[in-house]
Subunit: 310 residues, 2 copies
């Protein structure tokens, strides 16, 4: 089960974090941009090449200390198919460095369309007898608003290919409560109901450390709900956004973990990518600064949860 | 407002339908596939080229009778960045033929990430002073589970660039009720609550025919809910899947329209793309068969709603 691999990586590195790679062109040092524009012109191809170089430098500098990356699809789509190619190349590069890759796409649809997304991001595409991994991530974030019809095509691919999904449960943003916090007649909130569905969907993908292949996104910015869902969804592994730039701290994120220090991976995107600013360094030092921040974040979280034991 | 343009196209052609372009390689005639594989090899590039040729032939054959296409992103992502390039090229081609393009991506995220999706699909990407339309659709389907933070970045782009969005409200699939039909403590169902949010989000994008730039996806497979939401969300334009292959008929879809025959556009994907099978024709006649089916569908729906008047 894919999250067993993620959990083992977390335990080996004693680091329950994931680096979000949501690159904007503004984050990329002028020297890299200039080299790419010189090579490809001021085009989407040039921009995408710059993002890829930026990502590779960060991956090179963190792959021995951080178990996973989470590229956010939106930032690549923004640069057209050329950007989407940079996403595929970022995923392949991170995997070649032994990292676990979570594509943050929040995809959702039904039936054969969801099969197409599952195939695209986690599976194998057949073209006239030949097989290709179109994107080849280890896990994909998804939105469960459409119910079981939108999830079963994913769990089928997960079982077959040792992959996982994270379903949006309680998101980290200020307005997440507008729908998610509403109380249902059965007494549960909408996010709690979604968490129940995750527990149910996960039954067919059991993992050896107690967590299934159907995880959940629960934000660090809502520490009470994080604690509530940790208790109510004991087999559901959490992907936790909202640490750092969005305001969540280690004490908030702590609620995502079980007594063994398992059960969650905490994401930081801008905190890692733009660490050079906070550290008062030059933009050309972004990759080294990312490493320094990744180590600081690891220590910050480990200091609250203690040693991670399998 | 973008849906004014769509509504005008519908009225001009007296056809409130959209052709879903969700191409699978299996749908593409052997002659097209062979030509593309001969040119590009048995690669994702070859597969994507075949999809594009297939789409172009359908567009050529329906652009004078159908006002809009709805390419579903999943079927392009399945063929990697090469497939995503075919999506961009399909959109550009349909626009060059005067069609309105709805990218069915069901995208969702928050803040700057949603801005990136809005820029990607509806806006303009800046790269070091140069501007590019990455995908350039007229409208995008989105998922509102994350609340207002996930919608405002879209409405900003819609206002600036004359675009629209369709928010998932009541989807056409069998399990859509698992979450969407649940009753909230306030007496509304989850889908009804989402419809209310659409009405509210749409207030800042009023249209001249009474429909805002924030539309909703409501399935033809749930005709009662379609009628309910038509009454409860009077300013929300509907994108209606589920006609044809999923089981919805013209009498079901009728509930999506107001007394003028406005208020909705009905989608057919497989019905159009695979029409040659139903018509007992050769696969090489797929484009002509698509036209025949598009005309049949138009008559089928018009016969229930009558003349469309602005």
């Amino acid at each position: 089960m894919a999250f067993d691999r993620l959990i083992e990586g977390i335990a080996r590195l004693q680091n329950p974090t994931v680096a979000g790679l949501d690159p904007k062109l503004d984050y990329v040092p002028a020297s890299i941009k200039q080299a790419c524009f010189d090579k490809y012109g001021k085009t989407l191809e040039g921009a995408a090449a710059a993002l890829l170089e930026f990502n590779k430098a960060i991956i090179d500098n963190i792959c021995d200390i951080v178990p996973a990356i989470k590229p956010q699809a939106a930032y690549y789509e923004m640069y057209g198919w050329q950007g989407v190619r940079a996403l595929a190349e970022t995923i392949a590069y991170a995997k070649s460095k032994g990292m676990f890759v979570i594509t943050d796409g929040k995809r959702n649809d039904i039936g054969t369309t969801m099969e197409a997304y599952a195939t695209a991001h986690l599976g194998v595409t057949e073209a006239d007898g030949e097989s290709f991994e179109a994107f080849g991530a280890d896990a994909l974030t998804v939105n469960g608003y459409l119910g079981t019809d939108g999830i079963k095509p994913l769990t089928a691919v997960c079982r077959e290919r040792d992959k996982g999904i994270f379903v949006l449960v309680k998101t980290s943003n200020p307005s997440s409560g507008e729908l998610q916090d509403m109380k249902l007649e059965n007494g549960a909130t909408v996010y709690e109901q979604m968490g129940r569905m995750c527990e149910s969907w996960g039954e067919e993908l059991p993992g050896k450390y107690g967590y299934s292949g159907v995880g959940a996104v629960v934000g660090a910015t809502y520490p009470e709900q994080l604690a509530e869902m940790r208790a109510k969804a004991p087999h559901t592994f959490f992907l936790v956004p909202g640490y750092g730039a969005q305001g969540g701290g280690a004490q908030d994120a702590k609620n995502a973990f079980d007594a063994r220090g398992l059960g969650a991976v905490i994401n930081s995107s801008r905190g890692i990518m733009c660490a050079w600013k906070k550290q008062g360094l030059s933009e050309d030092d972004f990759a080294q600064a990312a490493r320094t921040e990744a180590l600081r974040m690891k220590e910050d979280i480990l200091s609250t949860i203690g040693e991670i034991t399998l």
